[in-house]
């Protein structure tokens, strides 16, 4: 009768903490395997990773806290770990805390350990990368370390799987809180202040209350009052104690670090032996080249170029296969399903939407393969180090470089890559400007309009063409505007003190392919699962807007063989005039359908708004239809100009049709050079990509930021297009 309750009471909740670069995620993955769940803590952008495993008949729930050097809590994000560890979060009781430390650097890693030890909970110390330490000539006296800490100490070489079984056993064995004499950390007046603040905090254990009191005393927190609403007297009490200590001559900013490091230095005497002469490690020798001012920068440029080329070009065949595959299925279904609205919904709306989600996967997977590889071997930190100077000019840090560069291929993996930026404000600014980089989906639009309307003038003996310069200028506009927006955001909405750059360069190590592939597939799956549904829904909405109301009762057309990228994403009108005799009639019927559809009607309604940009309703309709994805624009123009939807940017007929298009009922050509330029500039700056907006929503854990991105980018795009057209027609 006790079996069920016994099982539930035997579930242990275990928190995993450690410095960055200690192999913490490798250990988490190795312990939990596929039993993981990734989410977000409420109200903040901190990723919540939980997993479970079983050991000796006990269930263990493992919580992976973000890597950190200290439990100092100044911002809401930093409070997350403190709340979990002091059992103030909805996770509840924490039975064991596993602290992962790097065997190469016990000194710095024990700083976090001494903070965790004060929580009064059972701890297991996992000392990772013992192989590297050995190679570097570092000798650790394990018996003495275990004896002095008074808790289980498990040596690990996690990337090879060594020590994991022992770690699991240590976690489920009977445990005791460490018996460190932490009273010696701080001088008596500080301890008294801590005690007085702790007495204000009811509802916690004495150790937890003192732990929280230390955090409040040492870290000038901006969120103190919001964080302890049930203790209204707390801010004043903290303020009073701080003033008392300052008056007594204590320097509060450095007090904690000085005290802890002094204790650690004494503690480690006799435990760690290092070679008398500093050993030049393999890592040092690699760094002599890779962080060299000249060679390092050149190698960096090569690595980044290769990565960029891969994301940009290697993904193309994969994208092609996905499109071809979907076209085949769509054709097949068109034949087998009875014609009508349902067929069109499934073929154009649903399947078009799904293929529109999947085409982003190759770029996401390739980019994250490279990022995971560079991160795992230790190069990512070097990249940030080398690019910091450049990025600091726009108020960001070197860590923003790779996400922004990746956004030239596609903003979606770019935005997802901002997770490597720890500072929440820097990360947000990077996310908000990333869609301004000219992504590969804008290229078809650029190519079509430039080829049709920009004169083929040449300069410098044919080396430079006006068309090439225009393309270059469009990329440049994105970069310049992004720099301006980043600076502006840092001065206004996201103002605050400059975050520290202060970054560790971890030792190089051989990357673990399993980790790399795992992280790559994790990111790909996260995109499909968390963004996919919404993207498909919007594709269906746009399909409906072009399909209804019906201009005529006609069977649905076979899907086009879309050579134009992603042209089958559902936005292309579903008209179907298989019964019509000639292709021309079919195409004309499609154009008529779109004119009378909800999409066409709304485009004609807003026409007065876009006239100052030099556009007619057809351009407006194509722009709206391309909201799910920019690349649809070209195919949509094809339909609107009665050419059928299988138009691409190189198609001669579409180009001619555009050149000859007239405003309704007049002889005035629509597409002049100013109109083309206004449209180009609009596309360079607009947020016509629903998928990017969805991903921004997912990554910022809020709907405010995608809305903000859409509004600011669309306004900028409209204004820029207006200026270009108005100035252009007056010249």
């Amino acid at each position: 009768m006790t079996s069920i309750p016994a099982l539930s009471t035997s579930t242990l909740t275990v928190a995993l903490v450690g410095n960055p670069n200690t192999g913490k995620s490798t250990i988490f993955n190795a312990l939990t395997g596929l039993h993981q769940h990734v989410g977000n803590y409420p109200g903040v952008t901190v990723e919540k990773r939980t997993g479970r495993f079983e050991q000796g008949g006990r269930r263990v729930q493992l919580i992976d806290l973000p890597g950190t050097y200290s439990l100092a809590a100044r911002s809401a994000d930093e409070w997350v770990a403190v709340d979990v560890l002091t059992e103030r979060s909805n996770i509840g009781r924490i039975d064991v805390i596993v602290v992962i430390v790097d065997a190469n650097n016990l000194e710095r890693n024990l700083f976090l350990f001494t903070q965790v030890a004060e929580l009064g909970r059972p701890i297991v110390a996992a000392v990772n990368m013992i192989d590297l330490a050995e190679r570097n000539g570092i000798a650790i006296d394990w018996n003495l370390l275990t004896e002095r800490l008074g808790i289980p100490v498990v040596p690990l070489q996690a990337n090879k799987g060594r020590g994991l079984r022992e770690l699991k056993e240590a976690i489920v064995q009977d445990r005791a809180a460490p018996d460190l004499d932490t009273s010696g950390f701080f001088p008596a007046p500080v301890r008294d202040s801590v005690q007085r603040i702790a007495s204000e905090l009811d509802g916690s254990t004495p150790s937890q209350a003192r732990f929280l009191a230390r955090r409040l005393l040492f870290d000038p927190s901006t969120v103190l009052a919001q964080h302890f609403p049930q203790h209204p007297g707390l801010p004043d009490a903290v303020q009073e104690e701080r003033q008392r200590l300052v008056a007594a001559g204590f320097k509060l900013s450095s007090l904690e670090s000085l005290s802890r490091y002094a204790w650690i230095e004494r503690f480690l005497q006799g435990i760690v032996r290092r070679p008398a002469q500093r050993v030049v490690t393999i890592s040092d020798r690699i760094d002599a080249v890779l962080t060299h001012r000249l060679w390092g920068t050149l190698i960096f440029a090569t690595v980044i170029l290769l990565m960029f080329q891969a994301v940009f070009a290697w993904s193309q065949p994969l994208i092609g296969w996905i499109e071809t595959g979907f076209s085949a299925v769509q054709s097949w279904l068109t034949i087998w399903l009875p014609a009508g609205a349902l067929q069109s919904l499934i073929v154009q709306g649903v399947l078009g939407g799904i293929s529109g989600v999947l085409v982003f996967l190759p770029q996401i997977l390739i980019l994250f393969f490279f990022i995971a590889l560079l991160e795992d071997c230790g190069y990512l930190a070097r990249a940030a180090y080398l690019m910091d100077r450049l990025m600091s000019r726009v108020g960001l840090s070197g860590k923003s470089f790779i996400p922004l560069l990746s956004s030239f291929a596609c903003a979606i993996p770019g935005v997802m890559a901002t997770r490597i930026i720890e500072n929440p404000r820097d990360r947000l600014v990077t996310i908000l400007v990333a869609p301004l980089m000219s992504c590969s989906a804008r290229l078809p639009v650029y190519t079509l309009l430039i080829a049709a309307f920009v004169p083929k003038s040449k300069f410098l003996g044919g080396w430079l063409t006006l068309q090439g310069l225009t393309l270059f200028a469009l990329y440049l506009i994105g970069i310049v505007v992004a720099a301006g927006v980043a600076i502006l955001l840092k001065l206004t909405l996201l103002r605050g003190e400059t975050p520290p750059f202060v970054m560790e360069l971890p030792e190089y190590k051989t990357p673990s392919w399993r980790q790399v592939l795992r992280r790559m597939s994790e990111r790909g799956w996260a995109f499909v699962r968390r963004a996919g549904t919404l993207i498909v829904s919007v594709s269906i909405l746009i399909w409906a807007a072009t399909y209804f109301p019906r201009t005529m009762d006609a069977p649905v057309p076979p899907p086009a063989n879309t050579s134009a990228a992603v042209a089958n994403t559902g936005a292309v009108p579903a008209i179907d005039p298989t019964h019509l005799n000639s292709e021309g009639d079919e195409a004309a019927a499609a154009a008529a359908q779109i004119r009378n559809s909800y999409l066409g009607r709304s485009a004609r309604t807003i026409e007065p708004l876009v006239r100052p940009l030099g556009w007619d309703w057809k351009i407006a309709a194509a722009v709206i239809a391309s909201f799910p994805a920019r690349e649809i624009f070209v195919a949509a123009l094809g339909v609107l100009y009665s050419l059928g939807e299988d138009q691409n940017e190189e198609s001669e007929t579409l180009r001619e049709r555009l050149q000859n298009a007239k405003f309704d009922g007049t002889d005035r050509p629509i597409y002049t050079l100013p109109t083309a330029l206004s449209l180009l500039v609009f596309f360079a700056l607009c947020a016509q990509c629903f998928s990017t907006l969805v991903v921004i929503g997912r990554e910022t854990n809020s709907w405010r930021w995608p809305v903000f991105t859409f509004v600011y980018m669309t306004s900028l795009a409209y204004l820029a297009a207006l200026v270009v057209y108005q100035v252009g027609t007056r010249l």
Binding site: Y69, S70, A72, R74, N104, N105, E107, R108, F111, D219, P220, L252, S253, S254, E256, S257, L258, Y261, R274, D287, T291, R293, G296, T297, A381, Y385, L386, D388, R389, S392, G398, E497, T498, P499, P500, F501, V502, M503, E504, L505, P506
Partner: protein
């Protein structure tokens, strides 16, 4: 003198960290505390950020941040 102005590859002892914002807090918790020995061992392009050897690991900081770190020559 500040850490931003010292010669490379020579050991210096930290005397004080100026300020009490997130930057000084970060430097301190990374082990750059008064009494610690630090050595500048490299710099990125244009000389910023700089790379330090501190407590047997590698730390990179911006020049602006190094200006906060007051040091004196260390005799070993």
């Amino acid at each position: 003198m500040s850490l931003a102005a010292v010669d490379r590859d020579l050991p210096f002892r930290v005397v004080d960290i100026l300020g009490d914002d997130a930057i000084s807090a970060r430097l301190l918790e990374m082990g750059v505390v008064p009494g610690t020995t630090v050595t500048v061992i490299g710099a990125a392009m244009a000389g910023d950020p700089i790379e330090l050897d501190v407590r047997n690991y590698r730390l990179t900081i911006r020049r602006r941040e190094a200006e906060r770190v007051l040091v004196e020559p260390a005799r070993e």
